[in-house]
């Protein structure tokens, strides 16, 4: 492959081989923006509204039905309301009326029909948000209701996943199945014949809401040249630019997206900015005034993507000694009214659908289908949390059948260096999975507790359970995988760091700064991070898929490396030593062999300026092309995988079914810990968000497609009083040679294994298994009651 010979790949590999001692990498370093945020000075999107005069407010008129034809939309009355400047409908869209991220299936403004209750039928633009909301009631729409489908099993059925007869939701596409992927390896019939035990199960997971504390917002400013600048709460400015340009019919150069600090993303702000940015831009361009779209919480919940619910049926076969012989599965994902990132979510789910194990015979098949529920898209984990919930419970079930300890069963089947995945991909290095298991077992006193808790009586029963995970880094076969940064050393010695990668709390930019700082030999506070801006910061690809450190890190590494080479040359000339002998430990620069020969960093920079040595560098990295054969799922879907073991310790109240999580121990193999603060916060935050997914979160629709709990009072995310008492984060560093210093991603892996570990721990505590999420107290209680274990 051409890319493996590319210069940038060689640089990354060289740094992985050569650099063994680190000053900054792996240390605890404060975030570049911590002070600003702690003082309350950081400006999030909505805060910018304070600085604008003549703002107009945009209010979306949403659908009255979850599925209906639109015969007529009459905005004339609404436009007459004093204070209303314009009411926008699809007729006013200059470009293409579509904001779909993967498939062109998502109109910005409803045209012909509505497919879920969040569809926008019209936009009221007014002087005052209250007027906009009042006027919205005067937009009259003539609807013709259609049958509402909220159950994906009304679209496809198990036993082949074929599409059933029904009133099409996306009649323009001719089918409501958006994607189908599979892994087909060996012969599962043969595999099951060879098995001594077979376990089956049906697993269901729910709609999860991101519930980031900052609701979506976009502020559009019409520019002098007919273009528009949009300040938006988004994870992907360049993707948003592409989508919004298309809607407005403007070239990229006339659409500028600027990203201030974002208050949480988790995947939920991956594509919603396409929509709200376009809405704000339309209003701004049509009125000639800055326009604000600000979602209220209820609107946010129905107005952006959710996590795909899953229904999956699994069959696992194994020999008496625990070796897996076959895995078969049918997986259905409900993508709601629009595809969003659905096809990619399904793909990732299928790629990971067997767990990190060696299996000779595999047939897993999955589809993603439309329904009239709120649409589903990207959410941390991206199909993997759902799959892992099923797979890791299947493994524990097998262990029960075989009378084996769950750890022993895992050790019998896990991938190790030199093994091939179920896709046939050879993992010749960087598989730290076994070490994560060993560390987790040791840290939690696993074997003793497994034995001890089995003998409990009493109202509160403890349980300990584990789950393994793997997570392919970056976007795999979803598209062209590249990233870029710009490093500019300024004449005063400070360094400007620019990238299109965004921060929404995960702090990956801090890791990038640390990589650059390590290579250049300067402290991290020399850096100033410019906010992502499509007019100024390079397209780094979307900030998704746990790729910021892996991909952005490489781009940063390459840029810093090249700058360092040039600095070494100049310093060597000044100090009269060889370039390899130059040590930079800003503010000093000296010769390793003779530290008395030194100059200051600022003087070195000044010298470069006078000598005409360029001190800006554009760093680019392109990942090796993924290989994927649609018919069989064979190839190399991801260039590397993050591995992990999670152990959850719970206590179950046998009278009420309420589960408390006492401790979560996470051991992730992330190749190399770059930003230790960020890594720990991911382990902790992921454990809490995963716990919410496991025990209490659930977005509920009624049979008419209406969301019953669109607010934070009825949609339960963990409060501080629910958080596990203890979260222990441990690390394994089985470096991947083409990651920055060997590093792999953690953004999503940090949630994948939490729910199954908790589910397995509950099963251990109560002696029965619950196979649907969330595992509410009621589910635990009624399970116990059915088994006769309740004595009221």
């Amino acid at each position: 492959m051409a890319s493996s010979h590319a210069e940038y790949v060689k640089i990354v590999e060289e740094m992985f081989e050569r650099k063994k001692e680190f000053r900054l990498i792996g240390q605890y370093v404060q975030r570049w923006d911590a002070l600003d945020k702690i003082l309350g000075r950081a400006r999030f999107t909505a805060d910018h509204a304070y600085f604008f005069k003549n703002l107009v407010y945009v209010h979306a008129v949403r659908a009255k039905y979850a599925h209906a034809k639109i015969n007529k939309v009459d905005v004339s009355e609404a436009e007459k309301v004093p204070g209303v400047l314009k009411v926008i409908t699809h007729k006013d869209i200059p470009g293409v009326n579509d904001v779909g991220y993967v498939l062109p299936d998502q109109p910005l403004l409803a045209y012909g029909k509505v497919r879920y209750i969040g569809d926008t039928v019209a936009l009221v633009v007014a002087e005052d948000p209250y007027i906009a909301e009042e006027a919205a009631e005067k937009v009259y729409v003539d609807y013709e209701p259609l049958p509402v489908i909220t159950n994906p099993l009304d679209i496809v059925s198990f036993g082949g996943l074929k599409e059933k007869e029904h009133t099409l939701i996306h009649d323009e596409r001719g089918s409501d199945v958006i994607a189908r992927f599979r892994i087909l390896k060996g012969d599962v019939r043969k595999g099951f014949k060879e098995a001594d035990v077979v376990v089956e199960g049906e697993y269901r997971t729910q709609f999860q809401e991101h519930a980031y504390l900052e609701p979506e917002a976009a502020l559009a400013i019409p520019e002098h040249d007919g273009g528009v600048t949009i300040i938006a709460s988004t994870q992907c400015p360049h993707e948003a630019r592409r989508a919004i340009s298309r809607v407005l019919g403007l070239p990229f150069a006339k659409v500028r997206i600027v990203v201030p600090p974002v208050g949480g993303g988790f995947g939920g702000k991956e594509d919603v900015a396409n929509e709200i940015g376009a809405k704000a831009a339309l209003a701004a361009l049509l009125t000639g005034r800055p326009a604000l779209v600000m979602h209220k919480r209820e609107e946010s919940i129905i107005g952006h993507s959710k996590r795909h619910p899953m229904i999956a049926r699994y069959r696992h076969g194994a020999k008496r000694n625990g070796t897996l012989t076959a895995v078969e599965a049918e997986i259905i994902l409900d993508t709601g009214a629009y595809a969003s990132l659905g096809p990619f979510v399904l793909w990732r789910a299928i790629v990971h659908s067997t767990g990190p194990y060696k299996i000779p015979h595999v047939h897993t098949e999955g589809v993603a289908v439309y329904t009239n529920n709120v649409y589903a898209g990207a959410f941390r984990g991206f199909g993997n949390p759902q799959i892992t919930f099923a797979v890791e419970q299947q493994m524990d079930k097998l262990a029960e059948e075989l009378g084996m300890d769950p750890v022993e069963l895992r050790l019998k089947n896990i991938l190790r260096n030199g093994d091939r995945t179920v896709h046939g991909q050879l993992l010749d290095h960087g598989v730290g999975l076994e070490e994560t298991i060993k560390k987790a077992v040791e840290a939690t006193d696993w074997y003793r507790k497994r034995a001890e808790y089995a003998k409990q009586t009493g109202t509160i029963r403890k349980g300990i359970g584990l789950a393994l995970l793997w997570h392919g880094n970056s976007i795999g076969a979803e598209g062209a995988d590249y990233s870029s940064v710009t490093l500019i050393i300024n004449r005063d010695g400070s360094i400007t760091f620019r990238t299109g990668l965004t921060d929404f709390g995960q702090g990956s930019t801090q890791g990038l700064i640390m990589i650059a700082a390590e290579i250049l030999g300067v402290p991290p506070d020399y850096f100033r991070v410019d906010q992502p801006d499509t007019s100024a910061t390079p397209d780094a690809g979307p900030t998704v898929a746990s790729r910021a450190t892996a991909m952005g890190g490489n781009a940063t590494l390459v840029a810093a490396y090249k700058l360092r080479q040039r600095l070494n040359q100049v310093a060597a000339d000044i100090l009269k030593c060889s370039p390899e002998d130059v040590e930079i430990h800003a503010p000093d620069v000296y010769c390793k062999s003779d530290p008395s020969r030194k100059i200051r960093w600022v003087d070195l920079i000044e010298e470069c300026f006078w000598r005409g040595v360029p001190l800006q560098e554009f760093g680019y990295y392109r990942a090796p092309k993924a290989v994927w054969e649609d018919e069989t799922g064979q190839g190399e879907p991801y260039f590397t995988y993050t591995f992990g073991t999670i152990v959850a310790e719970v206590a179950v109240d046998m009278e009420t079914g309420k589960v408390t999580v006492d401790r979560v121990t996470t051991v992730y193999d992330i190749g190399k810990v770059i930003n230790r603060v960020g890594a720990e916060l991911h382990a902790e935050g992921g454990a809490i968000q995963g716990m919410g997914y496991a025990l209490m979160e659930e977005l509920v629709h009624d049979e008419n497609g209406r969301v019953l709990n669109p607010n934070l009072y009825a949609y339960y995310i963990p409060t501080i009083m629910d958080a596990p008492k203890e979260i222990v984060a441990l690390w394994v560093e089985a470096g991947y040679r083409r990651g920055p210093f060997g590093a792999k991603g953690l953004g999503e892996p940090s949630i994948n294994g939490i729910a199954p570990a908790i589910a397995n721990a509950i099963a251990h505590a109560i002696g029965a298994r619950i196979t649907s999420l969330p595992i509410t107290p009621e589910k635990v209680y009624l399970t116990l009651k059915k088994l006769g274990k309740i004595k009221l």
Binding site: T656, L695, Y713, Y716, M721, D722, P777
Partner: protein, 288 residues
């Protein structure tokens, strides 16, 4: 917005303008109802300035009187939460919404909202509370049970406001307790709630009152048959078990919704009743 100078002024204004004008105290429910489009008042009468007159917790002639504008935070600072007989108030407060809402939410407001999650109503039911209402026409006192008649429905005129709640001081050998239980610890509606009043003498249940978030109607209510069964009996787990297994289901009709099923709610009503009674008992005996 109408800002009354004093209570009489507020009552005058309400008399002339209700139901277009509605009173607002802490606003923790009214503002959300307006946000959801369920309430569209033309004028809000701001009672928050009347706090000096309507916010108090005091003993008056063997009764305890709590002013309607007493906030939950103020209840936390009153003598009620230090007296083992009235620790039910501390229980309600501990699970009430979140700490941030407590200075705004008022006990009068909780009654005025009148939903099954109005925890003070549940607690006040076991205290046999009387509610004093005032209007331009004067005042009247009505038992809480007669005032809160259905979900968000009070038997009062739009020009009346809740002035105070009154209940007899409890006997020394009695106590109260309140339990609220849900999937998470705070900011919860509660799958079920249960308030109890227990009076013991030599381990015999002299008197007992038990209220739940719902018994039959969609508002808090008393389980009187269960109470009658328990009265006079020796306090034991077996007796409580008999009460909730044999009697409670005859007078309680639970409904299923997206949060929980009727079966689970009925079973949890039993568990919470037991726990509340045990808690009240331990308070009578040990004062905790």
């Amino acid at each position: 917005m109408y800002i009354p100078k004093d209570l009489d002024d507020a009552l005058e204004y309400l008399d002339k303008n209700a139901p277009d004008a509605i009173p607002i105290a802490g606003g923790t429910d009214v503002l959300i109802q307006i946000r959801e489009g369920k309430l569209k008042p033309k004028v809000l009468v701001d009672l928050s300035g009347l706090k000096s007159q309507l916010s108090y917790v005091k003993r008056v002639n063997g009764k305890i009187a709590i002013g309607a504008l007493t906030s939950v935070a103020e209840l936390d600072e009153s003598f009620l939460v230090k007296d083992k007989r009235y620790l039910g108030f501390a229980d309600v407060s501990a699970k009430f919404a979140s700490p941030i809402l407590k200075p705004l939410a008022t006990i009068g407001g909780n009654i005025g909202v009148a939903v099954s999650a109005s925890d003070y109503v549940t607690l006040l039911h076991v205290l046999n509370v009387q509610v004093k209402l005032v209007s331009v026409k004067g005042e009247r006192v009505v038992p809480l049970e007669k005032l809160v008649v259905e979900k968000r429905t009070l038997a009062k005129e739009p020009n009346e406001i809740i002035y105070e709640v009154l209940f007899d001081e409890l006997l020394e050998n009695s106590s109260t307790a309140f339990m609220k239980f849900d999937r998470r610890e705070m900011i919860i509606t509660g799958y079920v709630t249960c308030a109890t009043y227990l009076q013991l003498k030599n381990n015999v249940i002299e008197d007992v009152r038990i209220a739940f978030d719902r018994v039959t109607r969609r508002i808090p209510g008393r389980a009187k048959k269960t109470e009658d069964f328990l009265k006079g009996k020796e306090f034991s787990l077996d007796v409580i078990r008999q009460a909730y297994n044999e009697v409670l289901p005859t007078e309680m009709k639970r409904k299923s919704d997206f949060r929980a099923s009727a079966e689970y709610r009925l079973d949890m009503s039993k568990v919470m009743m037991k726990r509340a009674l045990l808690k009240a008992k331990s308070r009578i005996e040990g004062g905790v």
